[in-house]
Amino acid sequence: MSSEEEGNITIHVPDAPFRPGDNPVFDKWKWSPDDLKKPPIDCESEETSAHSRGLVRVIDDEGMAYGDWDPNLEYKEILQGLKHMVRLRIFDDRMMKMQRTGKLSFYMQSLGEECIAIAQTMALEEQDWIFPTYRQPGAQFVRGRSMVSMICHCIGNVEDNVKGRQMPVHYTYKKGRFISISSPVGTQFSQAVGVALASKYKQLNEVTITWIGDGASAEGDYHYGLNFASVYKAPVILNVVNNHWAISTHYNMASGSTNFASRGLAYEIPCFRVDGNDFLALYSVTKWARERAKIGLGATHIEILTYRTGAHSSSDDPSRYRPSNEHEFWPGGDPIERLKIHLIKNYDWTDEKHLQLENEIDAEVILAYKEAVKHGDLANGPYPSSDTIFTEVYENVPWHLQEQWDEMNKWKVD
C-alpha cells in the first residue's frame, strides 16, 4: 500500500508535486501582459478579483514589454534596477563562498528573487518604510547602504552595526528606513501595519512595505496584518512572496489553495498576483499600491509569484527534497536573465556590456569584501566587544545587568 493510498483513506496529506527522482513538469504560463488592465486607483477590492487570480505581467516570455501595466520607465532607471540585481547576485555568491570558509556562520541568498525588493523599493519614495524578511536585502542597495557595512554585519566583526547580536542577514539600516530583520517568520507582516499607522497618525506622506513567505503566511501574523490593515485603512503594501518552498515544504502545504493573492479580497483589500521575476510588473503594481495608500485608501495585498532557485540557507541541501533541476522548468525563468533580454531587445544593452557589468560588480564586491574583513570576520575576530551583550537591552543598564556585566568581565573569553 503506497502512502498515497493511505492518505486517501485517513488524513489527506498533500505532497510536493515533484520529489527527487521525479521529472518536473510545469504548465506553460497562459498569462500575457495584455490580460489585465489597471483598475481605477479608488476601485473596490472586488474589481481586482481577476487580478488576484490571473498574473500581472509587463515583460512577456520574449522580453517585450507592453500592456496597461507598462510603467514606461526610462532606460536609465531600468538599467539601474538591473545593476542592483546583478550586484545582489554577485554579493550573495561571494557571501556563500565566505560562509563555506567559515567567515560567516550562516547565509541566506536571494537567488532567483533578486527582482522583488529591488523593483519594489525603486517604486517607492525614499521616506517610505521597508519592513523586510531575510530575502529582501536588496532594498538596501536601492537605499544606498554600503556593501562594506553589510558585509561587516554578516561576518560579525567589530563594525557590525547589529553588534554581533544577530545571525548574518539580519540587517538593520535605519538611515535607509530599512527596519531590523527578525528571525521569527511572519512577525513583521503585522508589525508593518503599526509602522504605517504611526505614519498616518502623524499625517505624513509615508507608506510601509512588507513581505511574508508562502510558508509563513500560515502564521497568525498574516491574518492580523491583513485584518488590522483593513480595519484601520493603513497605508501599507502587504506582499506574500510565493517562491514555492518553505525549506522542504511545498506551498501546497501552506494553504489548501494554490492562490495566495485572493485572500485579501475578503478583507476588502485590493489584490494582485504579480510575476515576481518581471521587474517592470513589480515596479508598476507597487507604484499603484503606493498611490492608493497615499490618498488614504489603505492597503494593497500582492502575491509575488516566483521560485526559490537556491537552497533555503547555507544549512540546507535542497537535493534531499526536490529535483535539483526543478527551477530550470519553472516558467517564470530568471529575473536577471529576463530583464537583460528585455534591455538587449529594446535598448542598446548587449551581452558584452552585461558581462562587463558583472566583472565590474565582481570587482566592487571583492573590494568591499577586502575592506570589510580588515575589521575582522567570524573565523578570526575581532568581534564586537562582549560588552555589547549588556548594552541596549534597556535604555539604561539596570542594576542586575550591571552586576552581571561586571561578573562577565571577569570571565571574558576574548
Binding site: S180, S182, S190, A198, Y224, E392, Y394
Partner: protein, 331 residues
C-alpha cells in the same frame, strides 16, 4: 483605582501627543472595567480607540507604532488573554532595541487587569507576571493602590522600554483583606488620595508599606493588602514591602530590610512553582545568607489552575501568611 488609572491615562494623553490608547472595548465604551471611560470623547477617536479582538494583532500593531515614534498604551482585557500576544512581546518587543543595535526601540505599555478574587475561574484570575520576568528587555510592574497605580503607570508610559503593567482587578474598587464578605471601598485608605495632576513613582522602587523589625514580608498587587491584614493579626512586628516593580526589583530596599529582620516571607497569588517569589527567594538567600535566621518562606497560589467556586481555598489567606510569618520566628 479605576479613576486613578484613568487619571494617569488622561494626564499622559494631555501631555504627550505621541501617546495613543487602543484595545478591546476601550474606546467608545471606556473598557470593561471602565478605566478609559470618557477618554475617547475627550481626546478623539484617533487617540483612544477600539481594536479587533486579537491580542496578537494588538501587540504587533503596538510594536510597529512604537518603533515609528509613537508611545502606544494598550489594554489586554484580562491578563489571562495576553498569551496570544506572548510571541510578539517576548520575541519581538522585548528584543528589538538589542537586535537592531539600538536603531529601533518600542516604548509600549501593556496594561492588564490581573489576579483573582472575582470568581473568575481558570481564565479570568491568572496573575502571569513571572512569565514576563524571565525575558530581558521587559520591565514588569504590579500596582496595588490608587496612589501607586497612577504614579507607576505614568512612569511606565514615559519609559522608553516596554513595560508590562499589571493592575489587580480585585482592588479596582477597594482594597481586599482576604475576607470576601468584607468589601470595603478605597474611601479613607491612606493610599487613596490621588492628585489630579501628573506625578511619577519611579520604576524599580519598592514601597515600604509598614516598617518593622522582626520579619520582612514582600508582596505585590492584591496580596499587599492581604499581607497587611495578616501582619496586623499576627502580632509580630513585620516590615511590609510592596514590591511595585518586579523587573528591575528594588534590591536595596529588600536586601536592607532582610538584613535587618533576618527573616522573610514572600507572598503572591500566582502558582508557587516558578512564581516571581522563587527569584526573590533565590536572590535574597544569595545576598543575605549570613543574615538569615530561618528559611525564606513563600506563600503563593497552588500549582493548579485557578478554581471558581473554591477560590478562597486557592488564594493566599491571612491565616496562611500568619502561619508563614510565625514559622520564620521559630528559630
Amino acid at each position: 483605582m479605576v479613576q486613578s488609572v484613568n487619571s494617569a491615562l488622561s494626564n499622559m494623553l494631555e501631555k504627550d501627543e505621541d501617546v495613543i490608547l487602543f484595545g478591546e472595548d476601550i474606546g467608545y465604551f471606556g473598557g470593561v472595567f471602565r478605566t478609559s471611560d470618557g477618554l475617547q470623547s475627550k481626546f478623539g477617536k484617533h487617540r483612544v480607540f477600539d481594536s479587533p479582538l486579537s491580542e496578537g494583532g494588538i501587540a504587533a500593531t503596538a510594536f510597529g507604532m512604537g518603533i515609528n515614534g509613537l508611545r502606544p498604551v494598550v489594554e489586554i482585557q484580562f491578563a489571562d488573554y495576553i498569551f496570544p500576544a506572548y510571541d510578539q512581546i517576548v520575541n519581538e518587543i522585548a528584543k528589538v532595541r538589542h537586535r537592531s543595535g539600538g536603531e529601533f526601540w518600542c516604548p509600549v505599555t501593556f496594561r492588564t487587569p490581573a489576579g483573582g478574587g472575582i470568581r473568575g475561574g481558570h481564565h479570568h484570575s491568572q496573575s502571569p507576571e513571572s512569565q514576563f520576568t524571565h525575558t530581558p528587555g521587559l520591565k514588569v510592574v504590579y500596582c496595588s493602590t490608587p496612589y501607586n497605580s497612577k504614579g507607576l503607570l505614568i512612569s511606565a508610559i514615559e519609559s522608553n522600554d516596554p513595560v508590562i503593567f499589571f493592575e489587580p482587578k480585585r482592588c479596582y474598587r477597594g482594597p481586599f483583606y482576604g475576607d470576601p464578605h468584607n468589601v470595603p471601598t478605597w474611601k479613607g485608605h491612606s493610599e487613596a488620595e490621588v492628585p489630579d495632576s501628573h506625578y511619577n513613582i519611579p520604576l524599580g522602587q519598592a514601597r515600604i508599606a509598614k516598617e518593622g523589625t522582626d520579619c520582612t514580608v514582600i508582596a505585590w498587587g492584591t496580596m499587599v493588602h492581604v499581607a497587611e491584614k495578616a501582619i496586623k493579626d499576627s502580632g509580630i512586628n513585620c516590615e511590609l514591602i510592596d514590591l511595585q516593580t518586579l523587573i528591575p526589583w528594588d534590591k536595596e530596599t529588600i536586601v536592607n530590610s532582610v538584613k535587618k529582620t533576618g527573616r522573610c516571607v514572600i507572598v503572591h497569588e500566582a502558582p508557587k512553582t516558578s512564581g516571581f517569589g522563587s527569584e526573590l527567594s533565590a536572590s535574597i538567600q544569595e545576598r543575605c545568607f549570613y543574615n538569615l535566621e530561618s528559611p525564606i518562606e513563600r506563600v503563593a497560589g497552588w500549582d493548579t489552575p485557578f478554581p471558581h467556586t473554591t477560590e478562597w481555598d486557592y488564594m493566599p489567606s491571612p491565616a496562611r501568611i500568619i502561619d508563614a510569618i510565625k514559622k520564620t520566628q521559630e528559630e
